[in-house]
Amino acid sequence: MPAKGWIEVNEKYCKGCELCIPACPQDVLAIDQQTITSKGYHPVNLTGPGCTGCAICAVVCPDAALTVYREAKVKKTQSVASPA
């Protein structure tokens, strides 16, 4: 099963340049025509499920406007980390 992920778009930085849209392998990004940022841009947003948290959008983002998360595989990572 592919990993589940999501992004947060910081509207302070996003200029709606659209570079992340064709870069997204899952094709789940689009410009949000309903929103206008304080600088007057339509920001990008996640259009639906399918994001894997691969962070390619963040790699191409010129404005460091994206924060990327992935659903944690909770138990395993925690138990490995602590006793050592």
Binding site: C54, A55, V59, D63, A64, T67, V68, Y69, R70
Partner: protein, 259 residues
């Protein structure tokens, strides 16, 4: 940099080495990408608090507003000289310049060549977008043949305006330089390679190996009169044939750096 919050793993966040100020760059301008990569490298190397940047004149004249560490602002083209002055009195600090093609390859040609020839232990981040961005799209020394700019309205005529200057190639011929490569920001794979090169450049300096420079092919959607996406295609299809992505000089010792 994977960390955990509740059931979510943070995969990527804005680097600490950037300030909270949004950039003045046009939408889709890859200056921002280059800033981000430098900031990520400073974060990863843990050197934000001991680094001094030198900003140029050009679109990145306000770089010092965007980077969250000590910065000075140079006169047009003189960043490598200013960086030299800083490094010579503070040799333990990391010192880098961030310059565009007008700044570095035109008005600052003397300063960059001699900083490199001295093997000055600084890092140069050189953004090549083949145009003067801030003044509104005039020909730069790296403008492509036949490329239209506001000062070459019929296209750069090589008979009267000469040919593009390949700085990475030229500088790599100097004995004292340790690391000179060209990278590009036109797609995710190349952005990752650019970041790796930026890191190697800073590591070269940290190891005291002398002059390092990463020439980065960058876009200028506004003055190229192309969309941000089309601008990336322009880099790939038009710029890379003139400015090949390659390692032009890599000191063999660099392989021994642990990163």
């Amino acid at each position: 940099m994977v960390s955990e919050t509740n059931n979510a793993t943070l995969v990527y966040e804005r680097p600490e080495s950037l300030t909270e100020m949004p950039t003045f760059y046009c939408p889709g301008c890859t200056h921002g990408t280059a800033h981000r990569l430098v900031a990520e490298v400073l974060d990863e190397m843990g050197i934000r608090e001991t680094t001094i940047g030198v900003a140029p004149v050009g679109c990145s004249v306000f770089a010092y507003n965007y980077f969250n560490h000590d910065y000075v602002e140079a006169a047009h083209g003189r960043a490598p000289a200013m960086a030299t002055g800083i490094k010579r009195v503070l040799p333990k600090k990391m010192v880098y310049t961030y310059q565009g093609d007008g700044d570095l390859a035109s008005i600052g040609m003397g300063e960059i060549m001699h900083a490199a020839a001295r093997g000055e232990n600084i890092t140069v981040i050189y953004l090549n977008n083949a145009i003067y961005g801030m003044t509104g799209g005039q020909m730069s020394p790296t403008t492509l043949p036949n490329m239209k700019t506001t000062s070459t309205p019929l296209g750069r005529d090589v008979e009267v305006a000469g040919y593009p200057i390949r700085m990475a190639e030229i500088i790599s011929n100097l004995d004292a330089v340790s690391y000179v490569v060209r990278r590009s920001l036109h797609n995710p794979a190349n952005i990752r390679k650019t970041k790796k090169a930026v890191k190697t450049a800073f590591q070269t300096q940290a190891s005291g190996m002398g002059f390092s420079m990463v020439e980065i092919l960058s876009s200028c959607p506004t003055n190229w009169k192309l969309s941000p996406s089309k601008s990336l295609e322009f880099i790939e299809e038009q710029m890379i044939p003139v400015y090949p992505i390659a390692d032009f000089k890599v000191n063999p010792e660099i392989k021994n750096i642990k990163g």
